[in-house]
Structure formats: structure tokens, C-alpha cells
């Protein structure tokens, strides 16, 4: 039994048994159509028929289906998992894309035309000719206050967000602040409340009037939504209790010395802890003297 890679070798860019980029053309067309609708209605969750892909549901199948249906000759793909290009999940997805399309992949944000990511947005400011694809575990921000999807959809339709605001109010009253960490809900284009996927608060300002198209795919929950370039995206915040990003007390990255990137704590073998950049590609670039444009 020949592998897909062998099939690609055999037939050049064509290969038998599977379509280019794995998905059949009907699936690609449907997913593209859902994306067009998502771009036309920023923040609105468009249902789509999530296909089977050779990755388990919940491991980025939504993002993968989007990536596979938008890439073609000339594209360069980068895949990151929580900022890290070397994550097992990122590696698997990268390899699948390589084998089914023969396209080159990269670790550098600036080189990529399509970046698929889980739980982080790259530190390097992305351009208008790039697309950021985000893997979404739970697309419904109202899940926090409403268990029924039918009711939640009606609430979106009517812009009935009082209960969501009430949840934030209760948080402030009882704990002194809004305690939502990753996945802080945002208002897109002054209309829909949207789950930005579990990115840290740090990444939310990057969504606001970004030059890059952001597409969100939830494979298990079968939803696609998008933030087109230059769209207003605001975190839900009160006039007197403002949204705040994470603070690292001015501490720089222990590896590259940068103090403008989101840091994660790493546990060393001797039990000590060091803070290093969560975005490894950025950290590598900063370490070799590169000075990319960053958000902060």
C-alpha cells in the first residue's frame, strides 16, 4: 500500500486516491462558502458540515479543514500550538499538510502566507497578505450563561447579551475583577459577542483593526467564524472596570531577553522556574538579533 507521499511522488503534484489537500472538492467548496459568509457577517458563527480528517476531533480539525480548503500553489504554511512550532499536534498537522499538498512549510511568521494556530496569536505583526487560522474548541461564548444552543442562537440573533454582562458584573462584585483568563469574550463589529478561542488576554488587542484576516474553525462543534481585516474588536468591559492584559512585572524572557512578548513559565529539572517567550519563532528571531514589528 503506497503512502500519500509516495502517491504525490508518483504523480507530481497530482496523486490518486485523495484529492489535493485531502478534502474532496465538494467539501472544499462548502467550507469556502461558509468562510465567505463568516467574513460577510463578522463574529457570526456559520454552521458547516465538518468532515472527517485524519486527525481526532478536538485536535484542530476545524482549523485544519479551513487551512486545507484555502491553500494552493504558492502558499507557505506555518502551524503553531500554543505559540510553539515544535508541539506534537503542530508537527502532525504540518506533516499532513505537506504530504497532501506538497506545499512548503515554515517556522517563520513573516514567511508564511497561512498560519494555523492553537491558543496564541503570533507576536510578530502579521500583514494583509497573510491569513491567521485559529483552532476553536468551544465557539459559543454564551455557553457560560446559557446551556441550550437553540436559546443561545436566539440570544445572538436578538443581540440579547444582558445575561453575559450580568455574569461579568457578578464576577466583578464577588471577586473584585473579571476573572476570565484565556478566551475573554469580545464584541466584534459592535454586534456579535465572540469567543476568541482560549488565547491569553495579551492577544486580544491584536484582533482590533488588524490588517490580517482571522478565520476561526471549530471542527467538533461544526462552526466557522471570522474577523475580516480592519474590523473593530473590543473586549467586553465596563466603563469603570477596564479590561487588562497580563503583566509580567517588567521581567524579560530568560532566553532572548525580550520584554514585549507574552511569557510562559517553564519548570526546570532542578525545580526552579523561568519565564520564556510563549511564541518560540519570535524568541528564536529575537535571539539572533532580529527585530520584528511586534504589537506591544
Amino acid at each position: 500500500m503506497p503512502t500519500i507521499a509516495e502517491l504525490i511522488q508518483e504523480t507530481g503534484s497530482q496523486f490518486t486516491g485523495y484529492s489535493y489537500a485531502f478534502l474532496d472538492s465538494a467539501a472544499t467548496r462548502e467550507i469556502r462558502r461558509a468562510m465567505l459568509k463568516a467574513v460577510a457577517i463578522p463574529g457570526y458563527q456559520v454552521p458547516f458540515g465538518s468532515r472527517e480528517v485524519p486527525v481526532a476531533r478536538g485536535f484542530g480539525t476545524g482549523g485544519l479543514q479551513i487551512t486545507l480548503s484555502i491553500i494552493g500553489p504558492g502558499d507557505v504554511v506555518k502551524v503553531i500550538d500554543q505559540g510553539d512550532d515544535a508541539g506534537v499536534n503542530a508537527n502532525n498537522i504540518r506533516r499532513l499538510i505537506e504530504r497532501t499538498t506538497g506545499l512548503p512549510t515554515t517556522l517563520e511568521t513573516a514567511e508564511a502566507t497561512v498560519v494555523q494556530t492553537r491558543h496564541r496569536i503570533p507576536e510578530e505583526v502579521m500583514r494583509e497578505d497573510q491569513i491567521l487560522v485559529l483552532q476553536v474548541p468551544y465557539p459559543e461564548p454564551l455557553r457560560l450563561v446559557e446551556r441550550s444552543q437553540t436559546v443561545a442562537r436566539t440570544m445572538h440573533g436578538e443581540r440579547d447579551y444582558a445575561r453575559m454582562w450580568l455574569a461579568l458584573y457578578e464576577d466583578v462584585v464577588r471577586k473584585g475583577e473579571v476573572t476570565v483568563g484565556a478566551g475573554y469574550p469580545v464584541v466584534v463589529n459592535h454586534r456579535y459577542i465572540m469567543a476568541p478561542t482560549p488565547v491569553p488576554r495579551w492577544d486580544l488587542p491584536k484582533l482590533h483593526r488588524s490588517r490580517t484576516l482571522h478565520i476561526f474553525g471549530a471542527g467538533r462543534e461544526k462552526r466557522i467564524y471570522a474577523i475580516p481585516p480592519h474590523t473593530d474588536v473590543y473586549p467586553m468591559e465596563f466603563d469603570d472596570i477596564k479590561f487588562e492584559i497580563e503583566e509580567f512585572g517588567g521581567q524579560p524572557c530568560a532566553r532572548c531577553g525580550s520584554n514585549v512578548a507574552f511569557l510562559t513559565e517553564r519548570l526546570n529539572t532542578d525545580g526552579s522556574r523561568t519565564l520564556t517567550c510563549s511564541d518560540t519563532a519570535y524568541c528564536d528571531l529575537a535571539l539572533t538579533g532580529g527585530q520584528p514589528e511586534t504589537w506591544n
Binding site: A162, V173, D239
Partner: protein, 288 residues
């Protein structure tokens, strides 16, 4: 206020509201149909088709600043009427013009967005059971905040200021503002519900048996509170009760309902002191 009737528009004008449950007779001309019967038929259930006629041709006007009472025994259709007016239920026929949403708009045919606006901002309701009107999973202050947030209030300090203002006016101790109402006594829950209903100054407040089920001393406190607030803010109230003293204390005008019909309407004093309909006479005499 009463003298200006001729020149004043009613805040709410209810016209011939009918609510039936069940298949219903084909039309009012049908022989034996309950809807065809103009006088009190002595029952709610139609002998011809078995449908329940909860309200039939109920009409009433409420003018700004006045309190109208609906008096009637259980099953008389008074709560159904109130539920229709809060848009919990859709009447089978009839209409209601509600001035704040435009004079010629029928309250019963508004779209869902306007319905939500009416329910969260223009009309407040106090249910007989505080549990129906309150969200027991959020704090007392949060319950009041819910209406303010629905009305696009976005400042926590403003919201807390307003909530504590109304909670203190309804005599809910402010140190319990951030407690869950599930731990409150029923009287205190009822006062939180009143604070919630009034907090964003609705044009109309519906009171559905606000004191039934409370013990007598708490009843008196709640009634005093409603009267004080009414005097202070000049709000318009529609109060439903089967309890004559409650109606006597609160209402300027009263309609009496039985078997889904309005059988008598007039000034409250007149209804209580000089009832014309035999049923109202019975009610008045049994209360004394």
C-alpha cells in the same frame, strides 16, 4: 388627573382581549359557544368544544400615573390578562396600544427585539412568587443590575449606585446586596423583586398578587412600600389581586372579573362601597 381624561391619552389601552385554550369553536355565531354568550356564562369551559375561555373581550384603559386594580377569584382570568400584557402569552384575539412604543402599535404583534425591550425596559412585573421574578443564582444586587444591563448601562459604579438606591428604598439591608436571594426570607425576596421591577423606571408596573403568600405584617410593609414608591415616582401600576383590602389600598379604579369577563368597572371606592353586580356585592360583603 381624573379631570384631564378628555385631553389625555391612555398609557395602555386594552381592547377586547380574548384568550382561549383548546381547539375553540369555529366562530362566535356557533350556537352554544361560550364566546357567543355576552353575559357571565357561569363557567370558563365551553360546552360546545371543551375549550377554556380564560379571558373574553376584556377592555380597559390605564392613564399615566394611575393605579388600576383587577379584582377577581382564582380562575377569573386576571392573571392570564396580566401574562398577556407582559407578553408571556399571546392572546387569541384583541389588541393593546402601549403609548411608549408608538400610538398605533399593537403590543401583541411586536417583533422579538421590541418585545424584549418592552419586557426589560418599559414594563416591570412583580410576580406572586418571588422565585419567578428573580434569578436565584445571582446576587440581589445582580438581579437589579440585570434590568439595568439590559438597558445598556455599562458602569459598575453607576449600576451599584442605582441598585443600592432601590434596595435601600425597598428596605433590603445594603450589607446583603451581594448575597444570594435564595438565602432571604420570602418578604425580603419580594422586596428585591420590587426593587428589580422599578430600578430602570419602567412606564408601567404590573403587580401579580404581590402580597399573597406573605404573612400579614410583611404584607403591610410591602403595601406601604408600593404606595410610597407610587407617590414618590408617580409610576403607573396595574395590580391584580383577589384580596379586597389590597385593591382598596392601592387602586384608583378597579375592574372586577369573573369567568373571564369584566363584570363591573369603576372607581375603587364605588366598587367597594356600592357594588352593583351581585357577585361584587357578594365579594364586598364576604370581605366585611
Amino acid at each position: 388627573m381624573l379631570e384631564n381624561r378628555e385631553t389625555e391619552f391612555p398609557l395602555l389601552s386594552v381592547k377586547e382581549v380574548t384568550k382561549t385554550y383548546g381547539p375553540g369553536c369555529p366562530g362566535r355565531d356557533t350556537a352554544g359557544c361560550l364566546l357567543a354568550c355576552d353575559s357571565d356564562p357561569g363557567t370558563n369551559s365551553c360546552a360546545a368544544c371543551g375549550s377554556i375561555v380564560a379571558c373574553r373581550d376584556v377592555s380597559l384603559d390605564i392613564y399615566p400615573g394611575e393605579t388600576v386594580g383587577i379584582l377577581g377569584e382564582s380562575g377569573s382570568g386576571k392573571s392570564t390578562l396580566l401574562r398577556c400584557l407582559y407578553l408571556d402569552e399571546t392572546p387569541t384575539s384583541g389588541y393593546a396600544n402601549f403609548n411608549p412604543v408608538g400610538e398605533c402599535r399593537n403590543l401583541f404583534s411586536v417583533d422579538r427585539a421590541l418585545r424584549r425591550h418592552i419586557r426589560s425596559s418599559l414594563v416591570g412585573i412583580v410576580y406572586q412568587e418571588a422565585r419567578r421574578g428573580l434569578n436565584l443564582l445571582v446576587t440581589a444586587g445582580g438581579n437589579v443590575a440585570e434590568r439595568l444591563l439590559a438597558a445598556e448601562w455599562r458602569s459598575v459604579s453607576d449600576i451599584r449606585g442605582k441598585a443600592s438606591d432601590y434596595l435601600s428604598r425597598t428596605e433590603v439591608p445594603l450589607d446583603r446586596m451581594d448575597d444570594f436571594p435564595v438565602y432571604f426570607s420570602s418578604g425580603m425576596q419580594q422586596r428585591v423583586q420590587i426593587a428589580k421591577a422599578l430600578s430602570n423606571s419602567p412606564d408601567l408596573v404590573l403587580l401579580d398578587e404581590p402580597t399573597t403568600g406573605l404573612d400579614v405584617s410583611v404584607q403591610a410593609g410591602v403595601l406601604d412600600l408600593i404606595r410610597d414608591i407610587k407617590r414618590e415616582y408617580g409610576i403607573t401600576i396595574l395590580v391584580v389581586s383577589h384580596d379586597l383590602p389590597v385593591i382598596g389600598m392601592l387602586a384608583d379604579r378597579t375592574i372586577v372579573m369573573r369567568h373571564g369577563r369584566v363584570i363591573e368597572a369603576g372607581l375603587t371606592d364605588q366598587i367597594l362601597e356600592d357594588p352593583q353586580h351581585p357577585y361584587t356585592q357578594l365579594l364586598a360583603s364576604s370581605a366585611l
